[in-house]
């Protein structure tokens, strides 16, 4: 585990707001999160929970009507919240943090050859020119699994399939030689048969270049496959954060319970699929108390009055719910979550006993994710297409 190491990037009490037609939308509420070197962190949450806004803060890519109200993002000895203009961001965007976007069909310029588009990144970040730059392009293309790179580099995006385009997007990101790679729902727009390949490729790149990866996704199957640590976001705040096993097998926040309950694999055959009642709060108004309380049938009275702080469960696991407060009445999670907890214990024990055998040739640092992914995979044979919808 790398938890003893210093965080690579450290977000403290970040508040981010947008002004829209005179109204203020509080998109991120007191986000604190550490990212450790070499890990893969997954940020999970339903649409509108602020996960995309959060990672865009790390690269200064939010729309101009958004602004950091308070908080800091410490990275490489700098506070990223103080960077304003494009030239301030020059040393971060692409050079140290790169990004893979959701939809490969639209994230490449349709009028430029893919060679040109990769070369643009090579020139900017590796300082190569002419024939050398071309050579670098070919080797990157080969690295991401595109054969005949010299021919393919001259082709346009429309001559590539979705999966191949996502490879090109990854090639562009890798051409930047970044330290952190942000993958914004990297497989959502892809065919299920391609998803595993792309995740595998990202993981391969991570290992080769010792990348730190941040995944944004609402696909718990992806999370189980790739993540060392998971942060669950709801209504602009992080409600629970922990290692993959902790969040999957010992979830503490009622929202995490609900999210896991909506996994189809955990449902009982014949019963209707679980879905979370209601809708997330409107972030144009200040949220009072626990944001999830109105949708939580087991909400405590205090949930409506006072916002819970982050309670630590273990050194790596914490959740923003009053249930962890010692004074709180005991509220048990739903039965299948308890069952999950039991199975988690077994699997972790088994995984520890068998070493890396559970996940084939996976490296030791992937152990944590391995147990979790095994559990989800067990249910439907593969993790693909396991989607939690809030």
């Amino acid at each position: 585990m790398k938890k003893h190491t210093e965080p690579l990037l450290s977000v403290r009490d970040l508040n981010f707001k947008f002004t829209l037609r005179g109204q203020v939308l509080h998109a991120l509420r007191d986000i604190s999160l550490d990212v450790y070197p070499g890990e893969s962190l997954a940020i999970v949450g339903e649409s509108g929970s602020g996960k995309s806004v959060f990672v865009k803060c790390l690269m200064g890519l939010n729309d101009l009507n958004g602004y950091v109200e308070s908080g800091s993002i410490e990275y490489g000895g700098k506070d990223l919240t103080l960077l304003k203009t494009d030239s301030d961001w020059k040393d971060i965007r692409g050079s140290r943090i790169a990004m893979v976007l959701q939809d490969p069909m639209t994230s490449l310029n349709p009028l430029k050859t893919i060679g040109w588009q990769i070369e643009e990144a090579v020139r900017l970040h590796q300082g190569l020119k002419g024939a050398e730059a071309k050579k670098a392009v070919y080797s990157i293309l080969e690295e991401v699994g595109i054969s005949e790179p010299e021919r393919r580099a001259k082709q346009y995006p429309h001559e590539f399939s979705g999966g191949m385009r996502q490879r090109v997007v990854i090639a562009i990101a890798m051409a930047c030689r970044p330290e952190i790679l942000i993958c914004d729902e990297p497989t959502t727009a892809l065919d299920v048969t391609i998803q595993a390949q792309i995740l595998g490729l990202i993981r391969q790149m991570q290992k080769k270049y010792n990348l730190t990866t941040i995944y944004i996704t609402h696909d718990l199957g992806v999370v189980a496959n790739v993540a060392d640590r998971i942060a669950v976001m709801y209504a602009g705040e992080i409600v629970e954060v922990g290692t993959s096993d902790e969040v999957f097998y010992d979830p503490r926040h009622p929202y995490t319970w609900a999210l896991l309950s909506s996994l189809p694999q955990l449902g009982v055959k014949g019963e209707p699929l679980y879905s979370i009642e209601g809708t997330p709060p409107n972030l144009f108004h200040e949220v009072k108390g626990d944001a999830f309380a109105p949708r939580n049938p087991k909400a405590l009275k205090i949930d409506y009055v006072k916002r819970p702080p982050m309670f630590a469960v273990t050194a790596t696991h914490s959740a923003r719910t009053w249930l962890i407060d010692p004074r709180a009445p005991k509220v048990d999670p739903p039965e299948h979550i308890l069952a999950l907890r039991e199975r988690g214990k077994d699997l972790v024990a088994k995984a520890a006993a068998e070493g890396t055998a559970l996940y084939g040739a996976s490296a030791p640092e992937e152990e944590t994710g391995a147990a979790a992914s095994a559990a989800v995979n067990e249910e439907n044979g593969s993790a693909k297409g396991v989607t939690a919808r809030g």
Binding site: L61, T106, P110, K112
Partner: protein, 316 residues
Amino acid sequence: MAKYIVKRILHAIFTLLIVITVVFALLRQMPIEGYFNNIDKLTEAQIRVGLTKLGLTRPLPVQIWNYLVQVFHGDLGTSNKFREGYSIAKIVMSKAPISIKLGLLSLAVSLVAGMSMGIMMARSTRSKWKLWDRFGTVFIVIIQAVPSAVYHLLIQLYGSDLLGVSMLFKEENPVSWILPVFSLSIGSIAYYAMWLRRYMVDEANKDYIRLARAKGVPSGRISRQHVFRNAVVPLVQYLPNSILLTLVGSLYVESLYSIPGMGGLLIQVIKLQDNTMVLALVLIYSAISVLGLLLGDIAMGLADPRISFVKKEGAR
């Protein structure tokens, strides 16, 4: 590509054949006065002789065929009424250059001014007050909403005062070119600015621009290499047509400054019932339009690699 162009040219020729046939047939339904300058003074016999001389007594299909053969040999015929006995080609050649010169000049002005304005408007949509965008929109709305006659007149009245030149055009005097060119271009400036702004704002919100920003491309380069380059493609299609159509001239501006150009020539000869000239002008104008469309499509194909003129196999 070559195959496609040849195919398109054949299509174009076919289109022109149909146009000639239809217009010729329609004009033959008109009173035969259109073929004589002084029909009142002619006797029946003289008219018949005249018609025979023009080949108009023969069956209609034969007449059309003969006309086509004549056109194919590069002979557009002679004018009957507009300038009796003059070859139509000569009349057009004497009038077209001035219209083309003015037209190309104003096209250049409107491209440069309109596109700069569009770029500034699009860029300012990302600034706080969007000043350029607001001013530009007001300008565009005024130009689009107010009848062009109004601002043409205003430009002539106040412009000639301001520049201290006469209201009329003189080819030798370069200063007298300013107002007509300005009048001719102001509408297209608004047009180009409006569309370029719109396409640029569209492009700027696309995912690949976000990716380009994420990979650290400086914003100036993004504007030029990604946004502008892609936004200009839809406009490229209309460029050849705009260039060719300068030949037609502008009825209102040319009459306002009494420019001896092509503007309104077609209307004039229709009023005069100069049938041979109507036919020749319709032929010229439709040839221009058809050619413009063809060149537009080719230009578009050159600008956008997604458009391919041949069926491709095994693209993936």
